[in-house]
């Protein structure tokens, strides 16, 4: 297996002194699907944010595709971000842009050619099954549909990794499952998926690797894991 993400003795103390991550070592291979679970405040979001360099660890190395991203120069960060799709609990769509424009936005800001943009956006809208709503605005869609657009945006540039922080947190079970179906499909196409979640039902039924974090440390890492906490 090819290692895609590797953390070596990673620590993170926030400016206010909170120790969010305390010595994490982990490998994630190309094509894996990983759940990050753990109690509130245990450091899951911090773990995810360090992967796309929204936060920089206080100590340790994070290798992505062989590059230590903690050592990146400021101007190199955008090029890391182009290799990592990010999905949030609150979707972060732009309300004044249509579905199509929201997805195209991700390519426009990295100066993709208009022809490529058209092709890739239609392709990815097809993948999330929302081609027919391309001209809708976000507020005309259900929460689940909005999240599918956000996922489409995160993968439209075909990144090797997609990280998601509680992507089903705002959704009812039915919509949550439609999202998981899409992540599964993306993963089957070869994209690595790392997802922080509190959703016991999903973790226990769609069985994948589970990494549990408590107090900023990995306390469990099972190839075919379970959620392991009370819902």
């Amino acid at each position: 297996m090819i290692i895609l993400i590797e953390m070596q003795d990673v620590w993170k103390a926030y400016a206010n002194g909170v120790m969010a991550v305390n010595g994490i070592n982990v490998h994630i291979d190309k094509g894996e699907f990983v759940y990050i679970v753990g109690p509130s405040g245990s450091g899951k979001s911090t773990f995810i944010k360090m992967m796309y360099r929204e936060e920089v660890p206080t100590r340790g190395k994070i290798l992505i595709d062989g590059t230590d991203i903690t050592k990146l120069k400021y101007r190199e960060v955008p090029f890391l971000r182009r290799k990592i799709g990010v999905v949030f609990q609150d979707f972060k769509l732009l309300p004044k842009l249509t579905v199509y424009e929201n997805v195209a936005f991700a390519l426009e800001v990295i100066e993709e050619s208009p022809r490529q943009i058209r092709r890739k956006v239609m392709e990815v809208l097809d993948l999330v099954k929302l081609k027919h709503k391309a001209r809708f605005f976000p507020n005309e869609l259900s929460g689940g549909e909005q999240q599918r657009i956000a996922i489409a945006r995160s993968i439209v540039n075909n990144p090797p990794v997609v990280v998601a922080d509680e992507p089903t947190g705002n959704l009812d079970p039915e919509n949550a499952w439609s999202i998981m179906e899409i992540f599964e499909r993306i993963n089957n196409n070869g994209t690595t998926v790392v997802m922080a979640t509190h959703n016991k039902e999903i973790v226990d039924r769609m069985v994948k690797r589970v990494i549990a974090i408590e107090g900023g440390m990995i306390v469990r890492d099972d190839k075919e894991g379970v959620y392991g906490y009370e819902a």
């Binding site: 955008p78 090029f79 732009l94 936005f105 100066e111």
Partner: protein, 300 residues
């Protein structure tokens, strides 16, 4: 950068100018007021400067030689003068030449004096002295007055100093006033653009998460600031350029050029100076204003 991208940045900039039209209007007005003063100041200062230079170059000390002086005594006087400090040049002008010059300077009224050429020439021979520094002409003149065979000494009598003094004071007051106004404009532009940015913080965040470079994020704001500054330069430029043309025409029309022995900067040249400097200053304060407000928001 590709042209298509530049087009995109331009459209974004214009869109946000329209969206914050009141703040845009306020910043453009501030730039307008500031540049109006800058333009007036420039016009006045540049002209005062050329006038001062013209006068400076014409500041000579004329030493009229006593008619009784023989050539040898004239030579001795010349040597005496040459020994003084601050002498740049000394030129002997015999009375015939002096009269010719005088006739020439009278222009149309010269005919009356033409008959004086020859024996009746009322002018004495003279030395024309240039000092190394126009401010020294008084000292030099006072010293020469003491020498033998000197009939009379004429010099700028301090009006050059006064002119320079006025120019200096005007310059200092103008600079302070204008700096204050320019800073106000920068501040207003910075705030206008900050409003745009705050309204679009989410957009910037998403851009950065999608891997947009800082330059890409910055461009529309850069252009927005540039446009604010540029639009602020339009009215001052037109107003002053047209106004100056009128004044210049009037000055020429009344023939003041030849009465006052000074030339103003031609209005075409002045229009170029004004256009260049106002556009440049406008653009710079616009860009400066926008860059100060963007910087904080790029740290994602």
């Amino acid at each position: 950068m590709r042209l298509r991208t530049l087009g995109r940045h331009g459209r974004e900039a214009i869109k946000s100018l329209g969206r914050n039209s009141w703040m845009s209007f306020a910043s453009i007005s501030a730039v307008t007021v500031a540049l109006l003063l800058v333009g007036l100041f420039l016009t006045v200062m540049l002209n005062l400067n050329t006038i001062a230079n013209q006068v400076e170059n014409s500041v000579e000390v004329d030493v009229f030689i006593d008619r009784t002086a023989k050539p040898a005594q004239q030579d001795a006087l010349k040597q005496q003068i040459e020994q003084l400090d601050h002498i740049k040049s000394i030129q002997y002008v015999p009375k015939e030449e002096g009269l010719k010059e005088f006739i020439k300077s009278m222009g149309d009224d010269a005919d009356v004096f033409k008959s004086m050429q020859g024996k009746e020439n009322p002018l004495p021979d003279k030395f024309v002295i240039k000092t190394t520094d126009p401010k020294q002409s008084i000292t030099v003149a006072k010293q020469i007055e003491q020498f033998k065979y000197v009939d009379e000494v004429r010099y700028g009598k301090g009006y050059v100093e006064k002119l320079f003094h006025v120019v200096d004071i005007a310059r200092n007051i103008g600079i302070v006033l204008i700096l204050g106004l320019l800073f106000t404009s920068v501040f207003l532009i910075a705030n206008t653009i900050k409003l745009t940015i705050v309204a679009r913080r989410n957009e910037i965040e998403i851009m950065k998460l999608c891997g947009a470079t800082n330059a890409f994020v910055r461009w529309p704001y850069f252009i927005e600031g540039f446009l604010l500054g540029l639009l602020g330069a339009v009215i001052p430029f037109l107003l002053i350029a047209v106004g100056y043309r009128e004044i210049y025409q009037w000055f020429i029309g009344k023939n003041y050029q030849s009465y006052l022995f000074v030339k103003l900067i031609p209005s075409d040249t002045m229009t170029l100076y004004l256009g260049g400097s106002l556009i440049l200053i406008g653009a710079l304060i616009g860009i400066w204003g926008s860059m100060t407000s963007v910087r904080k928001f790029l740290k994602i």
